[in-house]
């Protein structure tokens, strides 16, 4: 094994899983380790204390890691007590630093999308920013594709192309020969140190335990990626979709799907990693002296979402469903890219399996 220094070879190294595990447990001294627990398509990002609790073969989680931990479901943004003259906004920045481990490419791209929502423009969100700055993101390229994934259509996966906005990128590239590990083979990971923070944290250890990658390793990664790209089952003409949607807002496919299957339950929005809508409400004590202002996730499928003075501009179910489908596949003007990262969650967690790509396909015919 040839030891390499992090400053060499573009900050890439091949590490055996047990070394990675040791390094992560060391990292746990500074960061709350959070990773996918329970495998398959219904894993959950959860705080862990041991590397073995995670299943890095997981395919998808229900709640996206970025949304769950950076844009929290419910949070207090402000509170005051008139009787004591106390006014406070916070609690930010949140105390503990968090490491999100094994974040798939679609979910990293979704975090980059949330960054545009919450951090760009003159009014950056201080709560989101505090958590974002305190979060160390260890991305993991996918090694399998589910039947609902379509990240390849929007460039959000299955391998991560973004070059910043996260810290480390892992790719499983094989198994160590001869070495048996508790519970199976000792896998090997290509570890790329993307951020300055990662380079500092990894400078000596665990790099000294790794091997310098060779050309054949990069070739192997390209072959794995190409094979993955062939295994996608979903397809949609992403070039044509925008004009089709724009020109046919009253298409019967929307109305029929909404009427026959949509429950307006908002599961689709809740699990979507790029849905950012939220509601803000005050909770004032019956003593009328203390008040808390709380923000929570909101959803355009709710009947009251578009209720404003004078009426509800999306009172009909299909108008609400249209909002979701269009915001994901059409409104590129908003952030210069499509709202979807192709993770397939809205389809998987919709109780009736409504599929935005199927609606779009029907609208393009």
């Amino acid at each position: 094994m040839t030891g390499v220094n992090a400053s060499q070879r573009n900050y890439r190294v091949i590490l055996p899983e047990n070394a990675l595990a040791r390094w992560l447990e060391w990292l746990g001294g500074f960061y709350t380790l959070t990773g996918p627990v329970g495998g398959g398509v219904a894993a959950r990002f959860t705080e862990i204390s041991k590397f073995e609790q995670m299943d890095l073969d997981y395919q998808s989680t229900m709640l996206p890691p970025g949304k769950k931990y950076l844009f929290e479901p419910v949070e207090e943004v402000l509170s005051f007590d008139v009787s004591e003259g106390v006014f406070s906004s916070g609690p930010y920045p949140p105390g503990r630093k968090r490491a999100l481990i094994g974040v798939h490419p679609c979910d990293v791209n979704a975090i980059l999308y949330l960054d545009m929502v919450f951090l760009s423009g003159p009014y950056a969100d201080p709560f989101y920013r505090a958590r974002r700055e305190n979060t160390f993101i260890i991305a993991l390229n996918c090694k399998s594709v589910t039947g609902l994934c379509f990240c390849h259509l929007v460039g959000a996966g299955p391998y991560l192309k973004a070059v910043s906005g996260y810290d480390i990128l892992l790719t499983e590239i094989g198994e160590e020969e001869g070495a048996e590990r508790r519970g199976g083979k000792n896998r090997k990971f290509m570890v790329e140190l993307v951020s300055e923070k990662a380079r500092e944290l990894c400078d000596v250890f665990p790099f000294s335990m790794g091997e310098q990658p060779e050309e054949k390793d990069f070739e192997k990664m390209s072959r794995m990626e190409a094979a993955l790209l062939k295994s996608f089952r979903k397809n949609l003409d992403m070039e044509g979709v925008q004009s089709a949607l724009l020109s046919r807002p009253d298409h019967h496919a929307l109305k029929e799907t909404a009427d026959s299957r949509c429950l307006s339950c908002s599961n689709c929005v809740m699990v979507c990693p790029t849905c950012f809508c939220h509601d803000v409400m005050d909770k004032t004590d019956v003593s009328l002296s203390r008040s808390r202002r709380v923000r929570r996730w909101d959803a355009c499928q709710d009947i009251s979402f578009a209720q404003v003075h004078g009426g509800n501009f999306r009172a009909q179910r299909h108008a609400r469903l249209r909002q979701f489908v269009y915001h994901k596949l059409d409104y590129e003007e908003q952030f210069g890219r499509k709202g979807t990262v192709g993770c397939g969650r809205c389809i998987r967690w919709c109780p009736t399996g409504i599929d935005l790509t199927e609606i779009a396909r029907a609208m393009m015919e």
Binding site: A42, L263, N267, V271, D285, S287, I303, S304, P351, T352
Partner: protein
């Protein structure tokens, strides 16, 4: 504050008194609530007090199942500035409405050994069948959130913002296992009004709809989903929607 405390009344019709208990045990804020309101009538808390108004705020629990209740309810309405229906019995018919599934005389026969010919029991009705209601504090019993919203809004003189979305939203925000999608249980969460904090799914149970249907509940779509689960008869599915908490709700709420 100096200002006069608002006069409040709590009235009960046919029900288990659970909503009254919920208020009497109003966990975090019972003391403040009793200090903020002048509870001029609340039988569960005090046997004194008078139902004569006027009331700034009235909460009415229970379904209407006897003619004298109609007269009382109308009087309460007249004497109240703001009247909220509280709990599923008052709002959807709740448990007492189960008797709507059989002819009244048959229900009486099953409930009492001898026929009580003097009993003027009627089919169950929700209270807004008889009087105009200013808002609904849903649940069986209600969750703290909407009860709190009703009381604090009354004190501030604003319209309360009651929950108007599905149980699924609360379920997802808690990152619960989805018992419908992951386990194939006939969960009513997608069409049920939130407010409970997704209590049943959090305990691995399918929601049975005790908060009542939410607005525009797409019943036939969820029935279709239950059919696809493959292990429920048409009767099972029908009962899921129209027995325990939906006996009166055979039509979609508007």
């Amino acid at each position: 504050m100096g200002a006069r405390r608002p006069r409040a009344g709590f009235f009960k019709f046919t029900c288990c008194s659970g909503c009254g208990f919920e208020l009497a045990y109003f966990q975090r804020c019972l003391e403040e609530t009793l200090a903020a309101f002048d509870f001029a009538f609340f039988r569960l808390a005090s046997s004194s007090g008078t139902p004569e108004g006027p009331f700034d705020l009235s909460l009415v629990e229970g379904a209407v199942t006897e003619p004298f209740q109609i007269i009382e309810l109308k009087k309460i309405r007249q004497r109240s500035k703001v009247l909220y229906a509280i709990g599923s019995c008052a709002i959807t018919g709740g448990i007492p409405a189960i008797k709507a599934l059989a002819p009244e005389a048959q229900v009486e026969g099953a409930a009492y050994k001898e026929r009580l010919y003097g009993l003027a029991s009627t089919r169950p009705h929700v209270i807004n069948d008889y009087v105009q209601v200013d808002g609904f504090i849903r649940g069986c019993p209600p969750g703290e959130r909407d009860l709190f919203e009703a009381l604090s809004s009354a004190l501030m003189g604003k319209d309360p913002e009651f929950t108007e979305y599905s149980v699924c939203m609360e379920c997802k925000m808690a990152d619960n296992k989805c018992v419908l999608v992951e386990e194939g249980l006939p969960c009513m969460g997608p069409v049920t009004n939130a407010g409970c904090g997704a209590l049943c799914p959090a305990h691995h149970r399918a929601c049975y709809g005790c908060f009542g249907l939410m607005g525009q509940a797409n019943i036939h779509a969820l029935k279709g989903r239950f059919r696809e689960l493959g292990h429920f008869s048409e009767e099972d599915i029908e009962n899921r929607f129209f027995t325990l908490f939906g006996a009166l709700g055979k039509t979609e709420r508007k």
